[in-house]
Symmetry: D2
Subunit: 400 residues, 4 copies
């Protein structure tokens, strides 16, 4: 597959590193950058045959099969319009839009044009995420009660991300988009998110947007998604997910604690590892960053989806849902109350309360809890179904 | 010091185990239980010279110096009244009351009686907590932005805790009291908590109270305390704290990941470890539970406070503040909005917004962020102080 | 690149899974298996166009560029003879031979034929290993003093591995080959290994070969390589490396603790994760096994080496050195003494003792150690260069 | 109990900190130091009523019940002679002697005098060790095959430890004494250690003794103890134990990874934690060091043993066995071969080979291994009891 990439900055280079590695068969064929020098340098660095400073020219290059948008948030819509006109499949970096409305327009553009709109939500493609999602779908942890995703680091690389007009917000739009979609996957994409509660503040940086936020998303089945995002974190990049189910638990750590630990006095002469805040002391590098962050599996899914005329796991529709949830988060951060999620297009099941089934202990009692105590005896807490009275029975186990 | 303990259940035994261990000089002298058999068994097990089924008799025993209340929540107030009348120092298990109002009455009782009211908030005495709190006070992580505490397990041992009337609530009153006070310590006890936002639900159990809740406490200086509590967690007891500061981070894991890991096929004949949900597979015991959970240092502080006529680290006043915060949490869970904290008695500083000081880059710019990129170059994001325009400068470092 | 794979068993499928994933451009074109049904099934499962039960036919297929040997150890030499005659590049699974002598013959065959002999030592290609090796080469941890590699699990999958005649030994030949080469890479491939000390025993299984062994390899510069291998380990696959340098430390955990943790009560209906010993309790899956175990980067290096007419990182020469070290290990296990390493072909530097440079404290003293004590004071241990007398000086730091 | 402590240096202060904490009832009553200023300072710091510069005077103080020896290794024997003459119970720091012969003399002195000789092997009293030892004794991990203990740090605090004449050696005598006794406990104190193999070298420091060593201890039942000790480790204090049993695994980390993690930019003004090599970057403090290192439980056991006229868990006899093993380690390091352990006094069972019982699969076959493969099928490796032929059967499980 021959690819045009729009943009030549930090994220474009991350994408290019992924595509250039491990002898992949899909190749970057065209690169666009507003600045000719940047386009040329990128083309040289990654051996891209063609470079342009005109976006439409890049997209319409006759050999291009698919377009990757690696531009600042405020430029996504215009780029997608060009792709739609050119009838070229398009993969757009996250977040899809700055608002749910903007994202909805993008979704409609690709759907009307009959092209594939792939949403480049890499953190929903990390190997750990994919395997744990499969476990959840296989019912290994029972009914999902809560899914938390946390992304925190000392702030983004690109200047435009610190400018609210261009990015659409702060840590929520930058990092929350990942966390919201991770939790939504674990809880179930067909389950309707109904309300959002969010706290946001600018605690450290001289910027207009929030640099720290915490939010809750309430789903129609009673499950809760939680996001914790910050540009104020010290110590590297904190990337963790947690899921609680009625029959199990999942804990993922994708960056700072992955089984790779180094200590350096700093007296050696060498460079140790990227993305750390220092070159001495205990350091926690990641083995193969593009792989651990999901880029490898993401592009594999996207290109195979195009070839097999199926939808990828993450589509423009998903990006649109995420943007609508972010809109509700910003509303809640301003109002101080739970805010309903406005989803003008919704393709999942309609809202319905979940029905909990309790554990019967016997005809007259529910089992609230059973526990093995330190002395080996068993304690059972029961509830009378009629009176509601809570009682406890202890079962003494004889020891060998 | 000679101690009377009121109660002979789960928590009373935990306290007694602590006091009996490591050749401590303070001794249990009197035990009270409503049920004579329980009182006698406890006295036998822990070699306590005297046992009573009358609370006042126990408290007023002439040799008793100090009383430990290890009773269900709804019995604390009556017990404290007896101690106040008897002019005996009193240490009360957590939570202090079922409401802020109840806790305020208890605080006033001990203060009027001139006795010490120690609040047995063990998790504010774990060795890890004490050392990290000292680091925070020494300014090792800068200004505290966020302090999160999480306690989750499959539900409490005692039946009365599942009964809302006796306990005063569910997971919030049982576990949230710990988490709220942990965060409050890290942020600073003199900083006024102003508002609380809380989500609470009964997701799994056939009970009236919440079995899962998440809450945020906003402090006058802009810092945020967060609590995550659940009786639905699977996998053991999840006890973790996290603190973000402008210059550092703290992560504490007090139970499931403490450097003690075992695998057992279950084919051996023996018992492996308490508090696990099974006896096979990977297990994560805790070395010395009463020590790791803070009981040792807690009682040391309490008895030394009495001897030296000083306040312990955790007083009835602290218990009262925690109860007021819990009241606000329940209000918020019902209203769906941030709720103000009602603190009729407040002894810290008055609310004031924190003033952030930005990093000057030069006369005309603030430094938003500095980062070392993977290629070794340095990227700096600046903000023009006058225009607000965000810009980026890259500094190419020559490599050896 | 078009590939013929010899063998259709466990390791052949692992290789095929790697090559089939992530849209790699090199493809399996031919498969050979002694048993037609197996060859056909493999061809079907992995969409391999051609299958054979005659090894020479498979290798000599005109479209085949490179041959992968995924056969039992006793079949490697014959397969390599066929590749050498056919002048087809050959990649051979680990260990290269059953003995140093057998490996030397293989090395000579490919070198005389002018084909590339790639040694498929996957654990020297894991992302964590590659990045830490780069750090070591960049001098981040100073002079390497010790490199330990440990591989332990409950025993191999294939029956022939339990048969000493076919495999050439037990846990040492199966797992020690990895560990020895990992340590050799960290210490430096050009540094001559001079002596080996090894303990080996059959502790659990009804087999002739060792199921547990520990060995030390002494290098000419004074560094020590250590291997710990076992087929008796319970709890999954233990895959850890540790390196001590004068200025730093590396700890790698490639399997059981990689930031992926699950708990399952086992009451859900689903399958949780491979390579665990159970489906309930705490489980530690690996995200993308073929990637984490180094297969992706290994094949990338091999094919690029062929295309660019350069040597891969792991060659038949490396496999031969490893086999010679294993020979010495078996000798030592039998003799109970350090045994010299017999390396009839050696292409590194000749043995020489390392020269240690001590830290001068002043003209008359070496600095043995400097330490900051708990009270903040500094303690320095010195040695008189002339008299050898050890002394201590304490420097009291004034505290703020 | 009233205690005389001999010595006022680093280890004496550690002991005193332990005894002064947590309101313990046993008190330091007398301190001896060769240097009056040191004795007086120690007495002041720890409120010890009496101090002496004459050892016999200290020991013979009429109110002293028990003596703690916290002196350099070469002074132990003389101190024990004084205690024996004074008929005062004596607790001696580790290692007991510099040689097995010296330790045997000490053991005989206390046994003849009828006093208790407690061996202050603190690392056999850490809470994690005690609980895991109990699990092993309860057969939770089956038959112990291997027990490894590792202690490594950048070198000891006291100057005399760097002087081979005073200490009796280097890292082996300093740290190996801990590791050897830890492994011996896990394997079983009654099982005879028969041979030792040891590598030792001076890799970094300008000293006569070894600063790095690795050793294996072979026990009569086929189990292996392993020690890894170093004064060259960078990154703090590495204190880890591992045990492999036929039915399970134990991993203990007592210092660097205990669930306490901090990051500090170093821009805060404060001190962070002791025993780290820096005050910035990721730091791993220990909550309550004297507790985690076993001092609390050690003194509890010692004083209770005296009161109840029983033996403590660690006696002079244990210290003597450890010294004999160290003697064998030094012999082996010199000879390059396994060396027999010379134990003139041995009180356990006599050497006998262990008998392994294999798993019968059916009348004619042993089961070598059973495994669940990634596809869910079960693979069983069998061995014919008569012919020794290894075969494999696969059981296809139908999936839901």
């Amino acid at each position: 597959m021959k690819i045009a990439i729009l943009g030549s900055g930090f994220i474009a280079r991350f994408y290019a590193d992924t595509l250039a590695g491990q002898r992949r068969k899909d190749t970057l064929h065209v690169v666009y950058s507003r600045t000719e020098a940047n386009a040329e340098k990128f083309a040289t660095d990654y051996q891209v045959p063609h470079f342009f400073t005109d976006m439409a020219q890049a997209v319409n290059h006759p050999e291009v099969d698919v377009v990757i948008i690696a531009l600042a948030n405020h430029l996504h819509l215009a780029a997608i319009e060009i792709c739609a006109q050119a009838h070229k499949h398009v993969l757009c970096t996250k977040p899809l839009g700055r608002t749910g409305e903007e994202a909805r327009l993008m979704m409609e553009l690709v759907e009307k044009a009959g092209i594939m709109g792939g949403y480049l939500e890499d953190l929903c493609y990390t190997p750990k995420f994919l395997k744990s999602l499969e476990s959840v779908k296989n019912n290994s942890i029972g009914r999902v009660l809560w899914a938390k995703s946390r992304e925190a680091h000392p702030g983004p690389h690109s200047d435009w991300f610190w400018d609210k007009e261009k990015s659409g917000g702060g840590a929520i739009i930058d990092l929350g988009c990942h966390c919201i979609e991770i939790a939504r996957n674990f809880i179930g994409k067909g389950i309707k998110p109904v309300e959002v509660m969010c706290w946001a503040a600018t605690q450290v940086h001289p910027i207009a947007a929030e640099d720290h936020a915490i939010g809750l998303v309430k789903y129609a089945n009673g499950a809760i998604g939680q996001f914790e995002v910050s540009w104020c974190f010290r110590g590297g990049m904190d990337l963790r997910d947690e899921v609680m189910g009625t029959e199990g638990t999942i804990w993922l750590n994708s960056f700072l604690r992955t089984g790779f630990e180094m200590f350096s006095t700093g007296k050696g002469t060498g460079y140790v590892a990227e993305k750390t805040e220092s070159n001495s002391g205990w350091l926690f590098p990641v083995g193969d960053e593009v792989h651990e962050l999901g880029y490898s599996h993401m592009f594999t899914d996207m290109f195979e989806a195009i070839e097999h005329h199926r939808e990828p796991s993450e589509t423009f529709y998903d990006g649109y849902v995420v943007n609508c949830l972010i809109d509700a988060a910003y509303k809640s951060a301003a109002s101080g109350s739970w805010e309903p999620v406005d989803l003008p297009v919704w393709r999942g099941t309609e809202a319905e309360a979940h029905s909990i089934s309790y554990h019967d202990y016997d005809e007259h009692h529910y089992l609230i809890k059973e526990e093995i105590l330190p002395d080996g005896n068993i304690s059972r807490i029961l509830k009378d179904k009629t009176t509601g009275v809570v009682s406890k029975i202890s079962i003494v186990t004889s020891e060998v």
